[in-house]
């Protein structure tokens, strides 16, 4: 099998891993602050629609489309993040879930977004190196962030928010930063995938999509950056391997989610595990 036909057969999956990797990293940011937000699919949707509309309705270059796809969800995240991030735990999860539904319904009912039919004929501008480049830059950014003072603040907030605030950490600002950066990354992933998949419909960005993104991060684990990437790769490849199961295919995702929570609460990637075993 030569390179070209191999690439033709598998490029969808490989680009899918890249885009899902970005999405998993976007939720990783908020999860590492101990916040469960389910709005990432909605931000991806906003980014995808905004980017696609820029490319379809104007003659501006692709970079502008991607810029809009990144900045619009980030702006939305600032606007809803300021009031919503006062909530904690399950209240935050449910509020962001509600926001996701509102976004989906708005996309479903607006004229410019094509309603239930969605958008068709988006110019296929995304090349493989766009996705790879974005993924590498995002990984570098997140790794740098994790090592910085900000990253330590994330951890402090996750462990004990009250204690973190007493130590002089601006918890509100830092949580908002994680939320907005996550939204921007999710939006960028949406913009990239819209210019690759050619079509968009509101159903792609509903609750199921939000849960898929969460599953990737939980499966991989939030102990480090490789975790979400591993989760994204596994959950992109798995449905292809399970094609034979047809309608039962999604059952595997559900089962994985349950099993990981029950038996592998830290996810697959736990660097500490090896170290501990070696010292024992």
């Amino acid at each position: 099998m030569d390179w070209v036909s191999w690439w033709n057969a598998y490029s969808d999956i490989i680009l899918g891993i890249g885009i899902n990797g970005l999405l998993a990293l976007s939720i990783y940011l908020t999860l590492s602050c101990g916040l469960l937000t389910l709005a990432n699919a909605a931000f991806m949707g906003i980014g995808a629609y905004a980017g696609a509309l820029v490319s379809m309705q104007t003659s501006w270059p692709f970079s502008v489309a991607l810029f809009v796809a990144t900045s619009l969800p980030a702006t939305a995240a600032i606007l809803i993040g300021i009031p919503l991030l006062r909530l904690t735990g399950v209240y935050l999860a449910m509020a962001t879930l509600g926001f996701g539904e509102v976004v989906r319904i708005i996309l479903l009912n607006m004229d410019i977004t094509g309603g239930a039919l969605g958008l068709n004929g988006i110019p296929p501008l995304t090349q493989w190196w766009h996705v790879l480049g974005t993924l590498i830059l995002t990984v570098l950014l997140v790794v740098a962030l994790k090592k910085s003072k900000m990253g330590r603040a994330f951890e402090a907030i996750r462990e004990d928010e009250t204690a973190a605030r007493l130590m002089g950490i601006h918890t509100d600002r830092i949580k908002l930063f994680a939320f907005v950066l996550g939204a921007a990354i999710a939006g960028l992933a949406g913009g990239l995938s819209a210019h690759y998949t050619f079509t968009l419909s509101p159903g792609n960005f509903g609750f199921e999509a939000a849960v898929d993104i969460l599953t990737m991060a939980v499966l991989g684990g939030i102990g480090g950056v490789p975790g979400p990437l591993m989760g994204a790769a596994i959950l992109t490849i798995l449905p292809e391997l399970l094609r034979g199961l047809q309608d039962y295919r999604m059952a595997a995702n559900g089962l994985i989610l349950v099993m990981v929570v029950l038996f592998l609460p830290g996810g697959l990637w736990q660097p500490g595990r090896f170290r501990k075993r070696m010292s024992c």
Partner: protein, 293 residues
């Protein structure tokens, strides 16, 4: 016109209240957000449908049987998923994530067994009677749905307020450790709560299936979202709040469709949820202290 909408609102609201009651009960007693409540609701509807179509059972047997099956499903989820997490004293987000997984599993199984399309109850399952009051029409089905929902809700509330078991459940909601020390069989009551909540959810599923005459694997998801909205409106864990939240949501949906537009019906309930969380996260009836979720 106006009275007709009011009748529809009460009928819809009573089912929402029934669904929200089970959801809030689990949160109040177990302190867990059980996101598989929508999946249980859907399976309640499907089991009664299967009993009616495959075994030609009459509805008055299929209804309690469907509730029973839904209850057992809830019990199963409690034993297999929630109990290990309780024993581990897992982070409160873990049960949410695990029950999302259980929902995906249940939806996928329903899709595999019954297909992804809408299913209907056989025609003539329910006598097609209609009453008219001036302009207002009332079907026997609507009346039965409303009466059944209200009855189940009333039994549940009576149980919580007036029986020893209800007393024990309220004690557990107050403090799990103290209740255990006082000899209340906490673990058994957790199972019992999961069973009852799921049975109520299953009953709501059957009633919604009857009233719209459409059952699909995906009906649980939108219902779950509505249940969450109702429960948040009333205050998480508050029984009275869940019932009133259900009615409020039913009314607001019916009137939003009448006076605004049907396209934005669901956005309306989430808009309400949103505003409620911003204004009073503890809900209309919640106590001043916000539980650290």
């Amino acid at each position: 016109m106006w009275e007709q909408q009011l009748v529809n609102a009460i009928s819809l609201g009573s089912v929402y209240a029934l669904f929200a009651l089970g959801f809030t009960l689990v949160f109040g007693v177990l302190g867990v957000i059980n996101l598989s409540h929508g999946g249980i609701f859907m399976w309640g509807a499907y089991t009664s449908l299967a009993l009616v179509t495959w075994f030609s059972m009459p509805l008055w047997i299929a209804f309690p049987a469907g509730m029973l099956c839904a209850g057992c499903l809830g019990l199963l989820i409690d034993i297999l998923i929630l109990k290990p997490l309780r024993n581990r004293q897992a982070n409160h987000l873990m049960p949410m994530i695990a029950t999302i997984g259980a929902t995906i599993l249940m939806t996928s199984l329903a899709q595999g067994v019954f297909g992804a399309d809408n299913q209907r109850y056989p025609a003539n399952l329910f006598p097609d009677l209609e009453f008219q009051w001036g302009e207002t029409r009332l079907t026997l089905l609507q009346i039965s749905i409303t009466v059944l929902s209200l009855l189940l809700t009333a039994v549940m509330v009576w149980m919580l307020k007036r029986t020893r078991m209800g007393l024990a459940l309220r004690a557990i909601a107050e403090s799990r450790q103290t209740s255990a020390l006082l000899g209340i069989p906490v673990e058994r009551l957790f199972h019992m709560t999961s069973f009852m909540a799921a049975a109520l959810g299953g009953a709501a599923g059957i009633l919604i299936g009857l009233s719209f005459n459409a059952i699909s694997p995906f009906m649980g998801q939108s219902m779950l979202h509505k249940g969450i909205a109702a429960v948040i409106l009333g205050g998480l864990g508050d029984v009275r709040g869940a019932v009133l939240g259900g009615f409020f949501l039913g009314a607001s949906e019916v009137f939003a469709v009448t006076f605004l537009s049907s396209d934005y019906r669901d956005a309306f309930s989430f808009g309400l949820l949103f505003l409620m969380l911003l204004w009073r996260p503890q809900g209309l009836f919640g106590t001043g202290k916000l539980r650290e979720g």
